[in-house]
Assembly symmetry: none
Homo-oligomer: 190 residues x 4
DNA sequence: CATTAAGCGAGACGGTACGTCTAGTCTTATG
DNA sequence: CATAAGACTAGACGTACCGTCTCGCTTAATG
């Protein structure tokens, strides 16, 4: 199909303004305070521009999350399995509890309980990438012979990160380094 | 203050109708489909009656959850620690994934990510009771000498139930008996 | 409409397409259904092209009306005053009630009630020409001595055509030949 | 159907505020400036309240017109036919050109050119009553023997009021007493 | 046994946000 | 340099719920 129309196309400035406004509103007023109307006003953008590019407010948050998440996708370390896991779990905990995208993630994870379509997208597009990173230290350890070759890595990931997400999303308890270190210690046979 | 008015007081019929309507709407249309207006219409109740007794729709769901949860607060078994834990985790998984109150719980847990006040109430009034039950098998095992006396039971609970909640709330993976059995095996072996 | 680029000034094809589209939309969907967006789409023309040449949708309709009106500006007859007036009023009635430009005129006259600027333009550019034609049979009759030399022709025109416009724009009654003939009879008898 | 709800029902204060706001906006900003949003804001009323009671903005104007029109429905005089007709046409001219409801009428008559349903309502509910009043002086004159018994009164009304509406709605010329007096004079055989 | 005040169903109210539509402006590549 | 394409800000549309309020009915303990 020929495209003879306006080639400068979508305004990157508007896109950025919308994502930032959504982020700010989430921080300042919580998920219910994130409204299309509010985003439009704060971003100095017309509602129609938002509806042109995003089907709903969660799509805006997803995109904001995607943009930010990249920076927090810490590369794997290259020490021994214990150091790798301890570092990884600690950074995961910090990501979930302290970072900006962590806040967005918690909001999206909450909304996903009400919205199966969002849940599916969140898993397919984002959680799968987080989980790949969770697997890296274990994969490396298996390859280096530090862990048995028949280790069920997915199961091990559930065991290691499950308690962290549980504290973050359910009990609301803090996730200090002692906690993540302890998880690693237990995992590696005390 | 003298009370000379209608002493038969609150209508239990209206209360039940509201709770059931909220439950039904949650199942049929999801959390966003649970509206005060919708509950009132379906329950054949005036909005004012709802606002008289419940501050918000989550309070209605909390009350519905409280009523139902009781029946699922399975008493602890009295076998050995392995059987107890396996039975307990399996029933917890069933509760979260299959039961009616489990559905309500997931919705409330989701909403709690957006609403710190709800989060606090949920933890104080409901999660704490669930956790008490989670502690029972471990407590018994310690008392029977099956587990060391210096076991940090709270930490152990996080390790055991964390991965279950993680699958339920985050990955959406099923939680089969093999999974919970494996968690117990790892916990007891280490 | 296939037209890309042009060094030869304004595109007559685009002009025609716009005028026809406006006319069609007016007939099919009424005045409210005539939108710049709709005209652009139907004419296969860019909105900008419309805005470049016409300040508003009523200007488009005015231009369409002007093009069509010419054909209906019936030349005066040359019989006696009675025949002239009967023929003229009948053709005026047909023009207003049956013709395409008559439909556009009614829409513009309606809009003029909301828009004083349009009202002024309509009167200055179009109604004045219609009225000139209304005067012709009377002028001729005066010159031929059929009507008194001191006749106030403008007043006479108001009397003769006023009831016709009244039926067309206000009561919605039909304007049959009997009606216009009667008007002439009353006018000439008095 | 039993009505067991709130019997105080509709708020007369809100109704009045809406009608006045609509009237004011029409005067200040013209027909296009009359928006539901604007009426709601100026009247201090919720949009939903407007939509509950009126299907559209023209219905609001119709109701405002109906309320006001009553006061201008001048009772017939009881002099001779000449005095009656002169007084009647003069007051009709004043009503159409100077009064508040006259302004609303002109706007509605304009809109009726775009909206056949409104046109039908306007004729059935309002114009018919105006026309009844137009007939009164003629009817009286016929009964008193001042005019022939076989007079076609409807035709006579068209002749008498048509030129007035024509000036008001089409040419925009003023309608002074001389004009209406002249119409009567011509009608009564000079 | 009549009084009387609380609970109730009904529903109007002032609001906020929704998602859609059109207006009118601006920018770009094409021919 | 006029054009087709189309993104942009602006703002009204009509709808859905929110949470508050007022009304008249029903009910049962009090006086």
């Amino acid at each position: 199909m020929r495209h003879t129309g306006n080639r400068h196309g979508r305004s990157e400035a508007a896109r950025q303004a919308v994502l930032e406004a959504a982020d700010d509103l989430l921080t300042e007023r919580g998920f219910a305070g994130v409204t299309i109307e509010g985003i439009a006003t704060r971003a100095g953008v017309a509602k129609q521009t938002i509806y042109r590019w995003w089907p709903s407010k969660v799509d805006i948050l997803l995109e904001a999350f995607a943009d930010d998440m990249e920076e927090h996708l810490f590369p794997p370390d290259h020490g021994n399995v214990g150091d790798d896991l301890r570092a990884h779990l600690h950074r995961l905990a910090l990501f979930l509890t302290e970072s900006d995208p962590g806040e967005v993630f918690r909001a999206l994870a909450g909304q996903a309980q009400h919205d199966p379509v969002l849940a599916a997208r969140l898993r397919a597009d984002y959680l799968s990438r987080l989980r790949e990173h969770d697997r890296v230290p274990l994969q490396g350890a298996v390859e280096r012979g530090e862990l048995p070759a028949d280790l069920d890595i997915d199961l091990a990931v559930d065991q290691l990160v499950g308690p962290i997400y549980y504290r973050v999303l359910v009990t609301g308890d803090p996730v200090p380094r002692e906690f993540t270190d302890h998880l690693v210690a237990r995992f590696l046979h005390d």
